[in-house]
């Protein structure tokens, strides 16, 4: 059963889509963790749900609605450039209202309930060729943008005051990172779903940063962990009929737990 599935086209598409999303999530995750944006990512993701359900009600593609919702929140958070507790509570308030809207849209939507379930929990095996091309296109855009802003972005994340003194456009980069995070989130939602985006965007990066202090290696390790988690999760879900998202989150959490255990044993 498992080996026959491996020959199926939809499985290949799923594995490719998973790889694309894992690479981009793992890379952006390092900056998300460094800037303390986990909660913001969660909010961007849930507002993607609001956008997707809104699009369903209007008879549009949920993916378009999702990207729209994520980008709108990402742009707003970037432009407002709130800090610390203020950002925390502002995100909480917007997130709660956004979810309320999502619930309303869902009740207004008369179509299949699976569309909503897929948004919430992911539907990697349902990815078709056209979707894969779109995923790869957006991922390429994010990765190229990330490569261009990489050094100033790292500088600004670590030491905003000095970076600004050296002429780094700190404010503009803050907006840029939120937009890239929003695009990445919209990608990750299609694999693991709204509720599990953090498992690809946060967990691998959080594990990687416990394994090394070298900036470049942190990014590569984070990508590697995201890749192994995603591909491993997809393969395991073929062998045992449990949700893919569960396996992906379980593997990436295992990496995180192992990394924490390692630093605990090393006494750091």
């Amino acid at each position: 059963m498992f080996t026959t599935l491996l020959g199926e086209h939809f499985v290949h598409t799923a594995l490719l889509a998973g790889a694309v999303v894992a690479i981009v999530s793992g890379a952006i995750g390092v900056f998300v963790v460094m800037r303390g944006l986990s909660f913001a990512v969660h909010a961007i993701s849930e507002l993607g749900f609001t956008g997707a359900t809104g699009a369903l009600v209007l008879g549009l593609s949920p993916v378009v609605g999702m990207i729209g919702g994520s980008l709108a929140v990402g742009a707003a958070l970037g432009v407002l450039s709130l800090r610390g507790r203020e950002r925390d509570s502002a995100i909480g308030a917007v997130l709660a209202f956004g979810l309320g809207l999502g619930v309303l849209f869902l009740s207004l939507y008369q179509g299949y309930a699976t569309a909503a379930t897929n948004i919430l929990f992911g539907s990697i095996v349902g990815v078709d060729d056209a979707q894969l091309v779109a995923l790869a296109g957006v991922a390429a855009l994010v990765l190229v943008a990330l490569a261009i802003v990489y050094r100033p972005l790292y500088f600004a994340a670590i030491d905003p005051e000095v970076a600004a003194a050296r002429g780094v456009p700190v404010r503009g980069l803050s907006v840029a990172i939120f937009l890239l995070v929003a695009l990445t989130t919209a990608e990750a939602i299609q694999v693991v779903g709204v509720l599990l985006v953090l498992t690809l965007v946060i967990t691998p990066a959080a594990a990687a940063q416990r394994l090394t202090v070298r900036p470049g290696l942190t990014v590569l390790l984070s990508i590697g962990i995201a890749l192994v988690s995603t591909e491993g999760g997809i393969l395991l879900s073929l062998a045992k009929d449990w949700p893919t998202s569960f396996f992906i989150s379980a593997i990436s959490f295992a990496f995180y737990a192992a990394a924490r255990l390692r630093s605990f044993l090393a006494g750091t």
């Binding site: 670590i158 030491d159 000095v162 940063q209 202090v213 750091t268």
Partner: protein, 256 residues
Amino acid sequence: MTQLVVSVEGLGLRFGDRELLRDLTFELERGEFLAVLGPNGAGKTSLLRILLGQLAPTAGRVVLDRSRIGYVPQQRVFDRDLPLRGRDLVRFGLDGNRWGVGRLPPADRRRIDDVIASVGASALADAPLGRLSGGEQQRLRVAQALISEPGLLLADEPLLSLDLAYQQVIVSLLDERRHSAGTPVVFVTHDVNPILNAVDRVLYLGPDGWAIGAVDDVLNTETLSRLYGIEVDVLRVRGRVVVVGTPDAEHVHHVH
């Protein structure tokens, strides 16, 4: 050698009813070492932020080239789990403002090693930045500012949490830079003594005004009493400057 690098004219800064700077005017020449002194809240850090272009003054104007500023900010301890080594922090001074991902050429790698050695931090180069002490991080910050080949150095309490030996290392590095490359230094500090041998002029920001000039022309009983609006004594004890009677130096009295 009288090339102006910074020109500050009629500078005023006010937050609501609180006036921090009033009609502040001074110029900074190539190679000059200026110490900025004054009690907490007198506007020392604000002045640096105005020079950096990060804070807009409420009056007056500032003329300087902001493209090559080396900045050592007031100590702010880094997050413990930051994925960054000491050498990565220093590297930001070299190429942190450049776009793109780039491998470091061997020559630049050597420059980084050299500047880290010059602040006595070679053993810290590969250590996680977040696990270093405040003083160790501070030395790396100075290295970062120096490696950027700055045309102007702005340092905000760079000697904080450094022991005497490293204070002297940092001061002589800044001193050397202004002599060899003509980079003027604006050095904000609460204690002038560690830099007495290097400093050309002192800018004192007091509660009742400001004064600028050679060390002895500013740090004397008459001038500081005027700047504080109360009786303040300035003594010279074994070559050190000791200020007695300022409101924020109450602890000095308790020692007696």
